[in-house]
Assembly symmetry: C2
Homo-oligomer: 362 residues x 2
């Protein structure tokens, strides 16, 4: 597929202009831009600027509030619940993580549940905010229902990602950032565009039958939890996704399970919600709350070296340290730019015309 | 296979006698017994009294200290690191979870990393200690290296379980308690006894080839992470297992990765350890640190009801709430007793003869 490469600066300006047109205060626009660009820089193309027109459509439907009054509504020394006031998750989530980090600086750890928010971009961005402060960062969100729990023939859970990020010494941070489904929707979309079947174990059709057709989800089917089927531990993927749903939403007062508002604007949210918006959960733990940070980093470096040098089945493939490929993408794309596939560029320029901002010239 | 059923009381007395012969102080013997029996009661037969002779063999090798000086060696208001002094994990883990709960009672949350410990039984026991106090409980441990990370042909990680437990209202607690491997070793042992093949995706042979032979692990093969292969997300299972390894051991000062001391006494621990013993990690979060506990429980009940009543692919199978089957086992076995298969009874009576305690009469 044709793609065009843009400098980071060019995409930043474009994205900031979109958020300003939405009515975001400039600081919020900058922050939301930074979260989205971080996704594109890190090679997670599905969660970056490709989603801009989706955010705009939600705003047009008044499901995103561009000038939210984000605030702590409940707290103890190390916990808080944040009401996102229907703001962009891209802005609400960093606010909440900042609260967690401030609590951790004083008490060792900080934990924040968030309700009344929207899609927050990549989980890794928020967890890495803690890593910059020599803390372990934890970040989770629930999401539009697309996944059927083990045995179910209903979409009851989102791809509900969880992320754990750890500061290393001479290596990049270890960042485990993963959807709790066998494969996220973005992978099905790639197979759709390429007209290729998907592996058995990613999706079932609307009758609950395992299918290799990448269009099944659009036809009423469901994604499957990590593990794919009961024999291979899909109850564990379902359990992880349930954990994320409970921590992000049952704990915060957001919507959970099938009540989570869909990301796509053409689907209406539930008429009988059980909470407000969607939910996130964040944690920050000072490494030196457990052992001197230098000791932790030295041992994490040793861990990394041991795993990187592991004997592999295929000598041409090395064991990958979680977060390492994304870090490598970021180094490279900061220099050589960010490639966007043609349909994304067309979509963004259509958006530019609608909003009356400068197009991305190719 | 022939099995014999014993009352809970009978197995408690037997188990307590074993720990007393080991030299445990009576209170520690009672506690260790409670943890092991909880596993048998909850239907997790692999982690209960069936392991008693394994603990004794480690004690005989002086790898378990029956009279440990378990203590906090580092702390902040909400974090602590505990040195288990090579004690039974069955005793060290409840000590550490109690520290977490005490901190949570004051500050909202408490987090404890543990080094220099041993096998701690089922993760669920410890997490449920928090649930009794209207807290969310979190419990993790690393374990003997048996699992190959994605692409690896080496055992670098344990089955490293993670557990999250949540208090509900009218329903039993939701308890997600799962190994991060596709299947734990206990399932291979069942297939070995029954002389049946295992599903593709649980194990690879010593050359890294996927195998359905349940004896492969004993022949130098490896277990596979949850997800089984890269296409089905094994990098996610590997990432979760890595998260557990880092939180339990790199953070606490325990051994990690391939350096974790093996549970079986016939394998020697590494001659060049990178830490002390194996590691655990515990967390306790007051539910009312985020929202009133009654609100949380009411919504968790609603979550449970919605998932239990989900439409299923096979109408004879319902969606299972994590922790529900174990709770049902516990109710039933408290009344009707705990069945043990014949080889376990023979092994326990051999142990009784060796230690000079009363046998289990069948």
């Amino acid at each position: 597929m044709t793609s065009y490469t843009f400098t980071e600066e060019k995409l930043r300006n474009f994205t900031r202009n979109v958020f300003l047109k939405m009515g975001c205060p400039p600081a919020d626009g900058d922050l939301a831009t930074d979260v989205l660009l971080s996704s594109d820089l890190r090679g997670i193309d599905s969660h970056g600027v490709a989603r801009l027109s989706g955010y705009i459509r939600l705003w047009e439907k008044q499901r995103i509030n561009a000038t939210p009054n984000i605030r702590v509504v409940h707290e103890t020394p190390t916990t808080a619940t944040v009401d996102g006031d229907a703001g962009l998750g891209l802005v609400v989530a960093p606010f909440a993580m900042k609260v967690a980090i401030e609590k951790a600086a004083i008490y060792g750890t900080g934990w924040v549940a968030v309700k009344n928010s929207n899609h927050f971009g990549i989980a890794g961005y928020h967890a890495l905010m803690a890593v910059e402060k020599e803390m372990i960062g934890i970040s989770m969100t629930n999401a539009s229902p697309l996944v059927a729990p083990t045995y179910a023939n209903e979409r009851l859970l989102g791809t509900n990602p969880m992320c754990y990020a750890f500061p290393a010494g001479k290596y990049p941070p270890v960042v485990v950032d993963m959807a709790t489904a066998a494969a996220a929707n973005g992978k099905l979309e790639i197979a759709q565009r390429a007209n290729l079947p998907i592996p058995e174990g990613w999706a079932q059709d609307k009758n609950g039958k395992i299918s290799t057709d990448p269009n099944e989800l659009k036809a009423g089917g469901s994604l499957l939890p990590l593990g794919s089927d009961k024999d291979h531990g899909s109850h564990k993927g379902y359990g992880l996704s349930a954990t994320v749903d409970i921590l992000t939403a049952v704990l915060s007062g957001a919507n959970y399970g099938p009540w989570v508002p869909p990301f796509v604007a053409f689907l209406e949210p539930s008429a009988n919600p059980v909470g407000e918006g969607l939910g996130h959960f964040f944690g920050a733990m000072r490494v030196d709350g457990f052992r001197p940070a230098a000791d932790f980093k030295q041992h994490l470096d040793n861990w990394i070296e041991r795993f990187k040098s592991a004997k592999t089945v295929d000598p041409s493939k090395k064991v990958i340290i979680p977060g390492e490929p994304e870090y490598a993408f970021e180094q490279e794309r900061r220099v050589s730019g960010i490639p966007l596939v043609e349909p994304v560029v067309l979509d963004l320029n259509e958006l530019a015309d609608k909003l009356g901002i400068e197009r991305l010239s190719v």
